[in-house]
Amino acid sequence: MSGDPTTRDTSQSTALSHLTRSPAGILLTLLTLICAALWFFPIYWALITSLRSDQATVQEFGLLPTEPTLSGYIFSIVNSELPIWYLNSTITSVSVTVLVVFMSACTGFAISQLRFPGRMLLWWTILASFMVPITALIVNHFIIIAGVGLLNTHIGMILPMLLSPVTVIVYKQFFDGLPKEFREAAVMDGATELQVFLRVFLPMNWGVTTALAIITFIGAWNSFLWPFLVAQDEKMMTVTVGVSAVQDAYGVAYGRVLAGAVLASLPVALAYLFFQRRVTQAITLSAGIKG
């Protein structure tokens, strides 16, 4: 490549500036901002409503609450099972995240770097499971989990959520992309394969691991159908399932319902806002394109 990057940047900005600085460009930016505001409006409206009293939700339609109150939040924390649901969600999502990431890293490394009988069979099974709808297996998952007496337990909830072929595929491809010299050098120094994996390969991709962990956590926190089937009494529900349960119970008391909804989405929203770049990375990686 010729020329240093800085000069190329300036020439580009002069050549393209008429497109961004022109009246049409400003108009387009304005349009973008309006679209973004409209797109975000449902979330904004939910936040505002959650700060209104039951009375105010059906009487006020202003963009800001006249008398903001936390009564909806206090109500849903004190008068519903929300704290227990939170605990259930945390236990299952954290366990699923740790187990999925750990098992996928191990499996991805083995398939990528080691040669063992059954390796290709394993790889094809993973690719196959990536293509089939896991949702179609819910009835059988229910029968199997009921068969071992794990319905209505955390373990029963966690187990089927461990099927995550994409994470293995991403790890395998990542390990494939690393130069073979790393492994050879470590083996020459007398390291065992296990040491190579733990000391050389894993530390080299903390970025990928964090990205996959965050997206797995968000997915587990948000999953609905399976936790909804497994949790047979209210005390075993996750927050995601619980939110729709209070919706049925409270009817039109939308202030409370939405306060619960805000609390339910808080962990995933924060995870996204703090790790925006990692979430983007995880999504582009899982779709198989380089970001």
Binding site: S11, T20, A36, F40, V58, A110, V132, L159, A261
Partner: protein, 292 residues
């Protein structure tokens, strides 16, 4: 040397054992069990007796099964292409911006994607509430009277589709943005020097170069939306669910409400086959493109 090789094998099996156990138990076995169940009249819990192909003949004569196929296809039609087009539009708008403004605008468009489906449900249930919903004023302006979207059959699927696009579009937007970033800036620069218009730049540079990502988004969306359940189930609660039945919902209903997992497994197998056919088509499509 030989000892070393054997210890490598031990490590390989040690590393893959937990994964293989889980996969054998919760993927391979359920697939086999599902196929076996389709030949029985098993209830949800407990064994059934063999009924041959009765479940299949029943399925091909079942109007609700075809209703579910139709509704699922209708939903796919309403979400996949429109959703991908909207995502491309948004990505084009966002990619023009820079710095903190881009991050903020992208966050506004992406945030819905990370919300739990039940939260999406309560947010929109409130917005569309017949008495107090914010959107009813818009609807009233269009139709002249408030509409209960979730009880009026013609409104149901399009409304769920709009909400689904709002909810899941963040994924496609990110893929398009990554694709747009990979287009070399020099191309636009050269085009600008040649006096190309904005439309020419889009149709001659952006569109052909972004096409592979478009195909990727379309197929990912297609396979995702064929499995629609959560939103339809939540919004249809208390309504006439048969009219808005989708495939996964029918599996759920047969197994958990009608206690007939033999028939549920047959419908599940149908969904299974449909998705696998589309996945294989996608795979072939990508391979053909890769060979060119």
């Amino acid at each position: 040397m030989l000892r070393n090789r054997r210890s490598d094998l031990v490590v390989a099996y040690l590393l893959t054992a937990p994964f293989i156990l889980i996969y054998a138990w919760l993927f391979v076995w359920p697939v086999i069990q599902m196929v076996m169940l389709t030949f029985t009249d098993a209830p949800l819990i407990g064994a059934g007796k063999s009924v041959g192909l009765a479940n299949y003949t029943r399925m091909f004569k079942d109007p609700i099964f075809f209703k579910a196929i139709w509704n699922t296809s209708y939903f796919v039609l309403l979400t996949v292409i429109p959703g991908t087009a909207v995502a491309l539009g948004i990505a084009l708008m966002v990619s023009r911006l820079g710095g903190w403004l881009q991050s903020a605008v992208l966050a506004a468009f992406f945030l819905p994607y990370i919300l739990p489906v039940t939260v999406v449900y309560v947010i929109w249930d409130w917005l569309t509430n017949v008495q107090f919903g914010m959107l009813q004023s818009v609807l009233e302006w269009v139709t002249g009277r408030p509409v209960n979207l979730w009880r009026a059959i013609p409104w149901f699927m399009p409304s769920v589709a709009v909400i689904t696009i709002w909810w899941t579009n963040g994924f496609s937007i990110l893929l398009f943005l990554a694709g747009l970033r990979n287009i070399p800036k020099d191309l636009y620069e050269a085009a600008a020097l040649d006096g190309a218009t904005r439309w020419q730049m889009f149709s001659r540079i952006t569109w052909p170069l972004i096409w592979p990502i478009t195909v990727l988004c379309l197929t990912i969306q297609l396979i995702l939306q064929l499995k629609i359940f959560d939103q339809v189930y939540l919004f249809a609660t208390g309504g006439r669910t048969q009219a808005t039945m989708v495939l996964v919902q029918y599996i759920y209903e047969q197994a958990f409400q009608k206690n007939s997992s033999g028939y549920a497994a047959t419908i599940a197998l149908a969904l299974f086959v449909i998705v696998v056919v589309f996945s294989v088509l996608q795979f072939q499509l990508l391979r053909i493109r890769g060979q060119k």
